[in-house]
Point group: C2
Chain length 328, copies 2
């Protein structure tokens, strides 16, 4: 089985690649070949025995998609996107990459024809939803995004459902929760603090909390995100019918509950590294974000998180990113 | 005030043009100029004193939009589309006209800049919804279209909301009910019979009813459709906030109720011209269509229908299309 990962150099792409290389298979089929694409060179996973081709190309270029699908990968993970903040700051770039790029891809798949109908797993986002919300956002709640990024993700969901309905591909779109704890350097995105306040104190560094502790948000660990992608790549998609996009399970917690979990897992010294500096701009942005979901459909379709509590989310970070240790 | 109508040669476009020419104004502003565009030459309304420019052009051509908006029309009614059946039969043509054409238009508006921010009234459709439905489809029900046409309409709604949010234009999308009674020749569209069974018998001709009498559907008269467009062209759009698309009011009736109304308005002889010939294909298609709506938001925003009963819908047809007479 040949797997293509678009946007393979991103955090989720790297973790998905590592998991697939480690397993050597997707579902019950051996992986015989992988193609990793991104706009910056994706890293070749160490010790991979599967032949891996690395492709550096611009997803917004109309010529990018055709050679990537020419060898007819059976499963395509489409993680390529520019993030919310950049799509908002550069309107044209956002539409070029997040919308046009996806159209080039699905049209390139369709152009191959001859019965080629790959599974296409698309990472959508809870940014497709815009306030005001019900207490829990259910599987039939309207998309009224309040960002260009959310608009582009929702449009791609629509396209993938229609191309699937027409038999051009076999698509599924999964709306990932905010990934927490996001590894790497502190992120300047408005959502960055949800991870910063856990990751930085565990590394012995200070972190700024710019909102009040009663702010509630929707989280899943990187391990869960990879698990969702693998399940989307292997499950029976016929069971979904024509509604091919859905919100993934996650955990709704307040910032106060995040901090309490950090104290339980890592102690008072670590928590003391969180500094409160209210930022009215970030507070305003975050007030328009989803807080909680009812993901009955995803659960019924077999999507499950790797964590049961926010304590688990912190432990997963310590295990997967910190080699089991943190700075007390 | 300069008004541009795209898709002016269609049934709703013609009726809107006639109304605007008759009134000479939109809201409290005199119309000083009109531009009527369509892929076939739009007819010049008889006796119009307003200068009217007729443009025959292909909405799917990337060069069509710029000259149409170059003179900065203050209000643009965007009715240009190929219909559901054709968009389903010709996939590429549907996306070219119903999606790409709209993007060319809004990008041409944006390219003018310099504070140009026209009101854009977009005709969307209840085809953005796909079964299964609740008993009444509310203002927050998800779009899961089951046709390419519905997909394209929903995507255009998203784009217009985002371009509005970014300040490039001042948009509103209105989802029209099925227009009944549709004037003109019997329509081969799957929905054609809803109008055929009223219009043809009133003209002394037979009509085929291909579904059972308990089929329920959502209707509004052509007069209501024009009223919705005029209201959308004049109302205070700030009151809508960022959710710029909404379902229009209509009337939910069964085919049996349509026929009972026809008998009340026109008598037994007319009703006797309806022949029952069940068509399982049409029955299947129609079973996936919306039946009833809760349009609380549109009603609150001042959208109203011209009819209170289905009897009124028939009387409007007799008044507006048949000069007050029908064949007994």
């Amino acid at each position: 089985m040949h797997i293509l990962i678009l946007g393979a150099a991103g955090m989720v792409g790297r973790k998905l690649t590592e998991k697939l290389v480690r397993d050597g298979r997707l579902g019950n089929r051996d992986i015989t070949r992988m193609t990793l694409q991104d706009v910056v060179a994706p890293a070749k996973p160490a010790g991979a025995s599967i032949p891996i081709e690395l492709v550096t190309s611009d997803f917004a270029d109309p010529k990018t998609a055709a050679p990537l699908v020419a060898h007819k990968p059976e499963v395509i993970f489409h993680l390529a996107a520019i993030v919310s903040g950049e799509a908002e700051a550069d309107f044209d770039k956002g539409y070029r990459i997040n919308l046009d790029g996806t159209r080039y891809l699905i049209d390139a798949i369709r152009a191959i024809g001859g019965g080629y109908k790959p599974r296409l797993v698309f990472t959508s986002s809870i940014a497709v939803f815009g306030a005001p919300f019900p207490d829990k956002i259910g599987d039939e709640f309207i998309h009224t995004p309040l960002t260009s990024y959310g608009t582009q993700k929702s449009i791609c969901e629509m396209l993938i459902a229609d191309y699937t309905r027409k038999g051009f591909l076999d698509g599924i779109g999964i709306r990932l929760p905010t990934i927490c704890v996001r590894p790497g350097a502190p992120n300047k995105a408005a959502s960055g603090f949800f991870s910063n306040i856990i990751r930085e104190p565990l590394a012995g560094k200070e972190a700024i909390l710019p909102v009040s502790e009663d702010v509630r948000h929707w989280h899943a660990s990187p391990r869960s995100a990879v698990g969702f992608l693998v399940h989307a790549g292997t499950m029976d998609l016929q069971a979904m019918g024509p509604r091919r996009n859905l919100s993934m399970p996650g955990m709704s917690v307040t910032v106060g509950e995040q901090i309490a979990a950090l104290e339980r897992v890592a102690g008072k010294n670590v928590v003391a590294r969180i500094k409160r500096e209210t930022d009215p701009v970030i507070t305003g942005i975050v007030s328009g974000w989803p807080r909680d979901f009812d993901t009955a459909r995803a659960l019924k379709l077999g999507f499950t998180t790797a964590e049961k509590t926010f304590d688990d989310i912190i432990r997963i970070h310590i295990e997967d990113e910190l080699g089991g240790k943190f700075v007390d």
